[in-house]
Point group: C3
């Protein structure tokens, strides 16, 4: 088993754990704060927690595909995709902590998340270009 695949798989599971926690929190706050389903807004704390979860899901749709493309089409730095995804995950923890305290404090974590997406995109594109140029015609 390739080591960089193992690294990317481990970070993927860590991301799933974080996202599971963010989702559970929404369910718990829904009960505690009396936000009745199917509403997805109704109390400031709930609203923030739900946005943290949904915004994380919005980024999962880009982070996970790029992580795995970059892992399977590696540059010479095979560990790089897993490292960037780990930085993204750390940025999400900062984002969550900031957002729950005050929506205006979400921006540092949001910015670092976005930059991590771009870095992972650059890595994936580099790996793909290398694969295309080395592929037999």
């Amino acid at each position: 088993m390739n080591k960089s695949i193992l690294l990317s798989a481990t970070v993927t599971v860590l991301i799933a754990v974080f996202y599971f926690f963010a989702s559970m929190r929404v369910g718990v706050l829904r009960g505690r704060l009396g936000v009745k389903a199917p509403a997805t807004a109704g109390h400031p704390q709930f609203d923030r927690a739900y946005r943290v979860q949904l915004n994380t899901l919005e980024q999962l749709g880009i982070i996970l595909p790029l992580l795995w493309i970059a892992t399977f089409f590696p540059t010479p730095f095979g560990w790089l995709p897993a490292l960037i995804a780990l930085i993204w995950l750390a940025a999400r923890v900062v984002y969550m902590a900031g957002y729950m305290a005050d929506p205006d404090k979400r921006l540092a974590g949001a910015g670092l998340s976005g930059l991590s997406c771009l870095a992972l995109l650059a890595t994936a594109v580099t790996g793909l270009v290398m694969a295309w140029t080395s592929a037999p015609a």
Copy 2:
């Protein structure tokens, strides 16, 4: 082709079919009940159907990555990830039926969905730990 990969692929397609149906329903109800885009709320039946779809998407972000990590880093029970994902899918059908009848009846399906996520997480972590401990240094 490994049999457990084929099983996980089949369950993935079944999940896609269910999710496609849940999404189509939202579009149909939007037209029938006159909920004009870009609104995502406006009629109780529509609101429930949309939450069923979106909550399913929220869980796809965790179920599919864990299913495939668990499949590619197998425990001795290679068929287990596909089985858990199938139970998750059954829980989603129960969730949808309950939610459409009455939002308070969503909880049984939601609980079983959450437990399936945890079971898949435990399976993926077990497989990863086995892969790390058997990986050459």
Copy 3:
């Protein structure tokens, strides 16, 4: 490296680029139009841009899994999954342009997106059936 895998990976990255652009636009409009977080509605232009992003995410949950199942369980037309996903991406660009101009103009792009999902589903199912019937018992 199999050529159809390289094609599907390339389309996946193109999809990620489009989705990243759709997401960035929401963030930019949030600032420009003064839609304060955690609200996800508040100005017609913002509301449309957010629905474009979220509806695209809703479909990513079905398009990406089916694209990769169809790629790894190929029919004799190995390039077909990447081509359908590319058509889906083009439909999304049409959808975005239409929706931003007028929500009622989203339907052409939405319809073609949905048909692409169905075509990818049919391709994935065909590939899976071929794999099952050729798998040793």
